[in-house]
């Protein structure tokens, strides 16, 4: 006579898992295919490319290393939050989940500081096949030239260049080090960007569980533990993706 949906909290007698746990794993399976397709793309483009820079030539490895540590730490606090629910320690749960959210936000802030300089830094390709890196000092559409300040040479890092005029007719293309710069940067921004969106998703879910959702800690702790476990599985997956993104993009 009951219209209740079964196995929301208690595990199914045969499969041994609750609905939500099976559901979240299926969702993660689809995420594997999503990121898998992007990794596949990355390999294909890199192998087919004439010039693909090493990640450490172009990207900020120290910041990314710090971010790796931050994300791993957030995974630990996440799993500690789950353990605290299981041990019925509400205060500790709040602390650990709160730390998880804070670490996630730290990751995003560091990411922002990693992204931003890329958009200020430019490269100009000339029709004669050469190119130069530096900063756009002036780019007025009215003028038939741009003012461009080259970066200091690697050999003479303290010698600064003056801004120089480059006629537009000599320029084949110029671009910031944003996604449009090259397939390397396109891949970098797309993959880390999509990963960043997943981080934001995790922050939203965890913040909800930290405040309004936490009511269930008192009303139905078993079910709440299930929710934290699912949120945790998602969060560890996001960490796991980063563990592969980090060497692929930055270290190789």
């Amino acid at each position: 006579m009951s219209a209740e949906i079964k196995y929301i909290t208690e595990p199914h007698p045969i499969t041994g898992v609750s609905n939500a746990k099976l559901g979240i794993w299926l969702f993660l399976a689809s995420e594997v295919m999503l990121f898998g397709a992007l990794f596949s793309t990355y390999i294909l483009l890199r192998v087919g490319s004439n010039h693909w820079p090493h990640g450490w030539e172009e990207l900020n490895v120290p910041l990314a290393t710090i971010n790796t540590v931050v994300l791993i730490a957030s995974s630990v606090t996440m799993v500690m939050a789950w353990a605290s629910v299981k041990l019925n320690q509400f205060g500790k749960f709040r602390m650990y989940l709160g730390l998880t959210v804070l670490l996630a936000l730290t990751f995003l802030v560091i990411k922002f500081f990693e992204y931003r300089p890329k958009f200020d830094h430019h490269q100009v390709w000339l029709h004669d096949g050469t190119s130069m890196r530096g900063h756009l000092t002036e780019d007025d559409d009215e003028q038939d030239y741009i003012l461009f300040t080259r970066d200091a040479d690697k050999e003479h890092p303290d010698v600064h260049h003056e801004a120089e005029k480059i006629e537009r007719e000599r320029i084949f293309r110029h671009s910031s080090f944003g996604p449009g710069h090259s397939n390397f940067f396109g891949t970098y921004f797309t993959m880390t960007g999509l990963h960043g969106l997943h981080i934001i998703g995790g922050v939203i879910v965890n913040t909800w569980l930290l405040f309004p959702g936490a009511v269930m800690f008192r009303t139905n702790r078993e079910r709440f533990a299930g929710r934290i476990e699912c949120a945790g599985l998602y969060w560890h997956f996001v960490d796991l993706v980063w563990i592969f993104l980090f060497p692929s993009l930055y270290l190789l």
Partner: protein, 591 residues
């Protein structure tokens, strides 16, 4: 990610056999933002039927251009579509391309899949496994509304500058990369549709695994449930690569990347200023990694419906049930490793071609097994020629034509001639239109009594059946000859070419069949809406069927079953020797 049981789900245990005893629910919660799988199923089905009809009208317009390329459209159309699309009644090629691309997109992603999976899957699957609802009802509702938004974005794209997407439903770059803004909306719409499918497939799999009634083991599942179960896995694992590809193309269009842009691409006599070094074939790989499994997403639910209808109307068990189930699983698995047979003509090496040619030949085997099992099921039966059964019977030869005409396309040598001609159009439409749609219509007539408590009219149904069968064949059969004559499927005016002009009569025949096919749907539309109100009232189990959905009241109330069903036997125990009647329902204990 939250998995609440809906807060009002527990109050309906009472034996009321009426669906409308939901005192506590307002109109919006009951019919619009419902979490009831049946309401969501019907929402999906009706939305999908509307989209199917809309996608079909796009094609009716295209067929006019194809049949009478030198003539002009009646002034009525010229007025509707305006000077931007149809100046002086002449359809612009750009508009023709929009209609083509959107016809494919709408029929596949907004029509057939939502009807087959979202509609039938949602409505029937929980009932057939004896569950009170889907495992995640709110996720289910989200899935519908995300789908709806995706559909609205797609429709909206017709009204932006430059019009809707016009690079084919496959959206091959670099053409799609440099197409007008409508393509961006197409990509955004696709991201919504894919997300919706993912939510749905998670729900289907969890529901099937976790919520089966007591005694309902996997090999007691109706074939329809198996078909939906395999389909859900295809959606779950094949769609994400297309989502990735969609994101990459979106980046190409919006952020100036060049994932799919080759170097030195010249458009309108100007070199495109992008970094280059991209790979247009990468899109094709990612697209077909989804889109081949997608073909089975289109066909499997229809096969499931046909299996049900045949077993019920032959009053015999489905022949080779286990064999058919194994075939479906094998089919689903193989569908992931045949994708590059769509790409034989891209300059792929012979080793790869040989590999995909082989897998393509292998995948035809389980399809043939399933079809053969269905045909053998008919042998020696005293068939009830009900309307759903007529559609199910028509499915068999139609799908057979679709399948068999696919073999020459899967062989690399024959594909050189047939690739991208009308032959291809004929082939896959036989699979999807006379094939899948016949199955889906069978499903509509078959489960209509469960959804409404009333039967659809037989006379109108038969009219609909014969009209549909004749004109579908009239529309698609000529295409094999047009294709073998070498006419490209992309042509706006085939009479400009000698080989196209030679078969123009067949194109006219096809066009007239398409319009008559449209008229043949009128009895269905009338029947569908009128029967809801004035159809003959029927019992809970009007077809004398064995599966669990017929144990529930018609229409089933929220929570579905008055008594939680227990399953005692396999799904197709018809005409069991010694039994009291010619059907032994799964939900009735042995006497």
């Amino acid at each position: 990610m939250s998995h609440d049981d809906h807060h009002h789900g527990h109050s309906h245990g009472s034996a009321h056999a009426h669906g409308d005893h939901h005192h506590e629910l307002g109109f919006w919660q009951k019919y619009v933002f419902s979490v009831d799988h049946k309401v969501i199923g019907i929402q999906y089905a009706v939305t999908a039927l509307v989209f199917l009809f809309f996608g079909f009208t796009l094609m009716m317009l295209m067929r006019y251009q194809l049949a009478y390329p030198k003539g002009t459209f009646p002034s009525f159309f010229a007025k509707i579509f305006g000077a931007a699309n149809m100046p002086g009644g002449t359809m612009l090629p750009e508009f023709y391309n929009q209609l083509g691309a959107m016809h494919g997109t709408i029929m596949v992603f907004l029509g057939v899949v939502p009807l087959a999976v979202g509609g039938f899957g949602n409505f029937v699957l929980p009932l057939q496994i004896g569950a009170p609802d889907m495992a995640f009802p709110r996720l289910n509702m989200a899935s519908y509304w995300v789908f709806f938004v995706g559909g609205v974005v797609m429709l909206f794209s017709f009204f932006v500058t430059g019009g809707a997407a016009q690079s084919g439903w496959t959206s091959y770059p670099p053409l799609s990369n440099i197409a007008p803004f409508g393509q961006t909306l197409w990509l955004i719409g696709m991201v919504f549709l894919i997300t919706s499918s993912l939510l749905g497939s998670v729900n289907f799999i969890v529901t099937t695994v976790q919520l089966r009634a007591e005694g309902l083991s996997f090999f007691r599942l109706p074939f329809f449930v198996w078909a939906q179960f395999v389909t859900a896995f295809l959606l779950l694992l094949a769609f994400p690569p297309l989502e990735a590809a969609g994101v990459l193309q979106l980046m190409d269009r919006v952020a100036g990347t060049s994932f799919f842009m080759p170097e030195g691409l010249v458009v309108g006599n100007r070199m495109v200023e992008v970094a280059g070094e991209g790979n247009p074939l990468l899109w094709q790989h990612l697209f077909w990694f989804l889109a081949h499994p997608e073909v089975y997403v289109l066909i499997l639910p229809a096969m499931g419906i046909v299996g049900e209808v045949i077993a019920i109307n032959t009053r015999k068990p489905l022949w080779g049930y286990r064999l058919v189930v194994y075939s479906v699983i094998f089919l689903g698995f193989m569908s992931f490793i045949v994708w590059a047979h769509h790409m034989f003509m891209t300059g792929m090496g012979t080793t790869m071609s040989a590999f995909f040619q082989t897998t393509t030949m292998i995948i035809s085997i389980p399809s043939v097994i399933i079809l053969t099992a269905f045909v053998i099921s008919l042998f020696g039966a005293s068939i009830r020629y009900t309307v759903p059964m007529m559609f199910a019977l028509a499915f068999l030869p139609m799908f057979a034509i679709g399948g068999l005409t696919g073999l020459p396309l899967g062989l690399t040598a024959a594909d050189i001639h047939l690739h991208d001609t009308y032959y291809v159009i004929g082939h896959f439409h036989y699979v999807v239109a006379p094939g899948t749609l016949m199955g889906l219509f069978a499903g509509v007539y078959h489960w209509f009594p469960k959804a409404t408590g009333r039967k659809m009219n037989d006379m109108l149904g038969k009219l609909h059946f014969w009209g549909t069968l004749i004109f579908l064949n009239g529309a698609f059969l000529p295409m094999f000859w047009i294709g073998m004559a070498g006419v490209s499927r992309r042509l706006y005016d085939q009479t400009k070419y000698f080989h196209g002009d030679a078969v123009q009569d067949l194109t006219v025949l096809s066009s007239w069949s398409v319009w008559l096919l449209g008229i043949a749907q009128i009895p269905f539309i009338i029947n569908f809406f009128a029967s809801m109100r004035v159809g003959k009232k029927v019992s809970d189990n009007p077809w004398a069927a064995t599966t669990l959905e017929w144990a529930a009241p018609s229409p089933p109330p929220h929570g579905n079953f008055a008594v939680v069903p227990v399953v005692y036997r396999g799904p197709y125990e018809y005409s069991v020797p010694g039994a009291a009647s010619d059907f032994s329902p799964q939900f009735v204990a042995k006497a």
